[in-house]
Subunit: 232 residues, 2 copies
């Protein structure tokens, strides 16, 4: 992060983006943390946690409603869509959780918001384990989108991905060192009262704490043995 730069941090309330907020706050001035409500099943769990962390750090928190996604876009992740598949992220089962061009839309809105509040940097918690099944998580997309944001704003808003060389275990370790209370983060896509423990995002959350050698503070609904990891 440049000295004097003001950043906007994309904050979902998951462990990655909460860690990114603490990381950015540790390294410089955060103008705002930005969340999106696009009608996903887990938002009622995630968004209050996002607000809690922003308040704890004294950072302005803004939730942008994107109701049109639930109304016009199709995905099992959205309220009214199908069931959330269990197990590891794999092309066949997880593809139905895709919200078309979600990252493109969130990054665009955030770029406009950043320009509006005088920030010139946008921080996203993208990491090396992001899933190639989502085209708008791939490196080529992020690179083109970063160029579009820089070229399409007066301030030349930069897309910053501080965790891009880390995996999720690395983020858990970084968050732990920054004092993040991971019990107050949400991963589960199902959106019930507790983490289900079995959907793709819960499996990855459990693996991340395991691999980082950290105690997992999460209350899971079921904690059956972790499925075998697919070869990558």
């Amino acid at each position: 992060m440049n000295v004097g730069a003001q950043s906007v941090v994309l904050l979902s309330g998951g462990m990655d983006s909460v860690t990114a907020l603490y990381h950015a706050h540790d390294g410089g001035a955060v103008a705002a943390a930005l969340s999106f409500d696009y009608g996903a099943k887990h938002h009622s769990r995630e968004l209050p946690l996002a607000a809690w962390h922003a308040a704890r750090l004294g950072v302005r928190h803004v939730v942008i409603p994107l109701e049109f996604m639930a109304r016009y876009f199709s995905s099992s992740l959205l309220v009214g869509g199908g069931d959330i598949p269990k197990g590891h992220y794999e092309e066949d089962s997880m593809r139905q959780t895709v919200v078309p061009f979600r990252n493109g839309i969130m990054l665009s809105v955030a770029a406009g918001f950043a320009e509006s509040v005088g920030a010139d940097e946008l921080v996203i918690a993208a990491h090396s384990g992001d899933h190639a099944i989502y085209p708008d998580c791939r490196e080529e997309f992020m690179s083109a989108m970063g160029s579009a944001m820089r070229l399409g704003t007066y301030a030349g808003v930069r897309l910053s991905r501080p965790f891009i060389a880390m995996n999720k275990a690395g983020i858990a370790a970084r968050g732990s060192s920054l004092g993040v209370d991971f019990a107050r983060t949400w991963s589960c896509y199902v959106g019930a009262a507790r983490h289900c423990g079995e959907c793709g995002t819960c499996v990855e959350r459990r693996e991340a704490f395991l691999d980082a050698g950290l105690l997992d503070p999460t209350e899971y609904d079921r904690c059956s043995p972790l499925p075998r990891r697919p070869s990558r």
Copy 2:
């Protein structure tokens, strides 16, 4: 346009995008025309005209609300912003009409919508006279954004700009040949009952009909002599 391709057309209700809708409809299958309501002063005039043309062609018309722009973004174009400046587009006066990263946001939402409805092409009425004062109208931005849309969607949604080699007079001529009723299009940024005749968009509209040798069917509130054109 590829044979068999389904397109989504960005439709504001202005003369350029209405002509783009007729052009795309003339050349292939249009899955939907997409408008955005981001709280601009002229939307109450523009959007009903957009709906009228889509209905005339039998094309599905969807209006995406983007209320967050009026709430969190600052621009004189938005309700609650300052007055709309008069005269030609020039850096100093028109810059206040910029809505931060507006084209980036509209193109991103449209790309996600296109992917949701099974379309693989997005048509925008960008033309050679688009204003370099808006960074998200420039060629480098459009090129990067087009790459991001293509790379970030399964369908590889393509950004199509059929009028990019034309000026606004050329679009007026093309629309006229396609039978567009330009009296049912809206340009004025002020958003009063009639076109003001004096804001930047009104001046350009008047010049376009003049240069194309077409009768201007618009009722202007004032039709003072056109200002001298800036050298380009």
